[in-house]
Symmetry: C2
Subunit: 369 residues, 2 copies
């Protein structure tokens, strides 16, 4: 399937790095939070291999921030997620499923505690800002909720520490996973977190101030020349191999965190009181009826999964595939799908109705990498 | 500027009509409410001339619906908009600016009153669902808020009445502007409204049920063969000529309805109590400091406006252009921009910093068409 053309207008926002991304030879984009997300530079395959061996700079500005600031910010952040915030320290980043009153997933952001009364919620592809604003308004909370001028730039790949140390100093090496530190570049302190949407290691720099984007991009590219640093973007193949979920692809408002395998991030059964608590307690009591699994699909490379592909076992409904891509390293199709509990045991053979025909597939015990 | 490629995944949703749109030779899309919006078939110019002379069928499924149903639905709908709902009858469609507590625009949907306790809010490009759900949850209202399986299909152009009468019967000719009627096709009653995102006349059919999409598309295409019916989509040029605003392009959360020239839809100064009322009363008292104007930009065809273009008068800041396109009929560039009040009088000459150089432009008294 060839890719269609994307019409441009202000409504599909460029980023602070768009000129650099363009100069780096971007070949395709997705649209994410009303913003351009670069997806392909050399080719899906070349970008994938390079990510796993070297280091890349990713324009993930589309991970917009929802800032919560004010007296009720801490109360509000706990209402938003079943994840327990009572012992979270300033400097921590938390993966935080966020649900509505039915327990349905609204987004799966990373939340940064910047201060006791200030948070950044770094969002996946839905206007979570509107949910948080609506809730705060409806409850008359004393909190400001807005999208600040902050655009994350990710540095991902096995040489990330080396590259980042050259630009932000040796201190970057000491940053623990899902922690951030304030580190200076050209006289400004940036929030630098050890995180990112790959399993290849790396950082996300929260670039606060559009005007600071290009100097930082240029410094990373210049410092990393001998590391073969390149512009890149999230690799569909690598993230599927790694079992990293994508909101809107692998989960929607129709899914609970428990269906998404995110039960370990829900402390609903303990003290945590959040929107959707009652619904989630019911899910915990009854157990989820389906859950996301990594899948290996046989045969040649599948096309992109643009609508869920039905999964069956002996002709019975057994679930659906939601993301799939040819794995260049594993030489099979890596996939993620929501599988009914009768069929979710590792090793179960399933049939997948891909658009180009039915395929044999297997439920895996875990991610590929 | 050539158009970039769009990567596909489930997160950028296809529509009930996507197979037909593809078969009709779609050449480009935008992404709108996480969904494909077809934008170009033959060419921007050919599509534009055809729309103005014949009749087109548009896949505007991306105008998703937010359904409000239940005891508090009427109370909630009035909280969402400064437009007065007290005298609205079942069968009416209302253009409804929706604002947050600061009076900033969240969306500019059309709201259909389906029953005393049931509404469809037909949205522009933002997840208004999240705002409405958040507000309802925060206030503990007795109302269901959800996205139903409804995908609008628009029939636009001067031959719309003739085409629609062949499929839905002569009753369509009697539907008044911004009213809807329930009309049968193949045994099912569809909501058919006289409305649409062009000034060429026409209808929007609210296709409830994905499975009903292709039969209806096929019936329209087949019935309109001798009318030269074609697949089309909103024409950037035609809508700019017509002064039809686009949320995310011409207005954002940073703008009040009064800045957008939508004051006539705000009955805030009367009895209407909605979120943002106090903020809007202040705007009414002080008057907006800037407002959207139609503009004519001299010179050759401008590129698409993907970031606001600064507007100056004698070197002073005078506003920004937010949408622009070459008008094939008027043989100049038609544009929309937010102009400061010192400069918004018709006939004022302004300078526009387009990406390819500075242009002379003029503030118009109204839209081109």
């Amino acid at each position: 399937m060839s890719m269609p053309l994307l019409s441009r207008s202000r409504r599909v926002r460029p980023t602070p790095f768009s000129k650099r991304v363009d100069a780096a030879g971007v070949k395709a984009y997705s649209v994410y939070n009303h913003m351009l997300l670069p997806t392909v530079f050399e080719s899906a395959e070349a970008d994938y291999h390079h990510l796993k061996r070297h280091v890349q700079v990713w324009d993930v500005s589309c991970e917009r921030q929802v800032e919560l600031a004010g007296a009720d910010a801490a109360r509000l952040v706990q209402m938003l997620t079943p994840r327990d915030f009572s012992k979270v320290a300033v400097g921590q980043c938390l993966y935080t499923p966020m649900v509505d009153e039915t327990g349905g997933m609204l987004n799966d952001p990373v939340t940064l505690k910047l201060d006791e009364d200030r948070y950044w919620v770094s969002i996946a592809d839905s206007d979570l800002l509107f949910w948080v604003k609506g809730l705060a308004q409806g409850m008359a909370l004393d909190v400001a909720v807005f999208e600040p001028d902050v655009s994350p730039l990710a540095v991902q790949g096995p040489r990330s520490d080396d590259l980042m140390a050259r630009v932000f100093g040796e201190a970057v090496r000491g940053i623990r996973f899902f922690r951030y530190e304030l580190l200076p570049f050209q006289g400004h302190d940036f929030v630098v977190a050890r995180s990112g949407y790959s399993k290849q290691g790396g950082f996300e720099i929260y670039v606060d101030g559009t005007e600071r984007g290009e100097p930082l991009w240029d410094a990373l590219m210049s410092a990393g020349e001998d590391l073969d640093v390149r512009a890149g973007g999230p690799s569909a193949t690598e993230r599927i191999e790694a079992g990293l979920l994508s909101y809107g692809n692998d989960m929607t408002l129709d899914n609970t965190p428990h269906e998404c395998g995110l039960g370990r991030f829900c402390q609903t059964a303990d003290a945590v009181d959040c929107v959707g608590r009652d619904a989630l307690l019911t899910v915990i009591a009854e157990g989820p009826q389906r859950q996301i699994r990594s899948l290996a699909i046989e045969g040649e490379a599948v096309p992109p999964c643009i609508e869920p592909w039905p999964v069956t076992v002996n002709g019975e409904h057994a679930g659906q595939v939601t993301s799939a891509a040819w794995s260049f390293d594993f030489e099979c199709n890596a996939a993620l799908g929501m599988i009914e509990h009768e069929y979710w045991e590792p090793g179960t053979q399933i049939m997948v109705d891909a658009p180009d025909g039915q395929r044999v597939a297997k439920v895996m015990a875990g991610a590929f990498i």
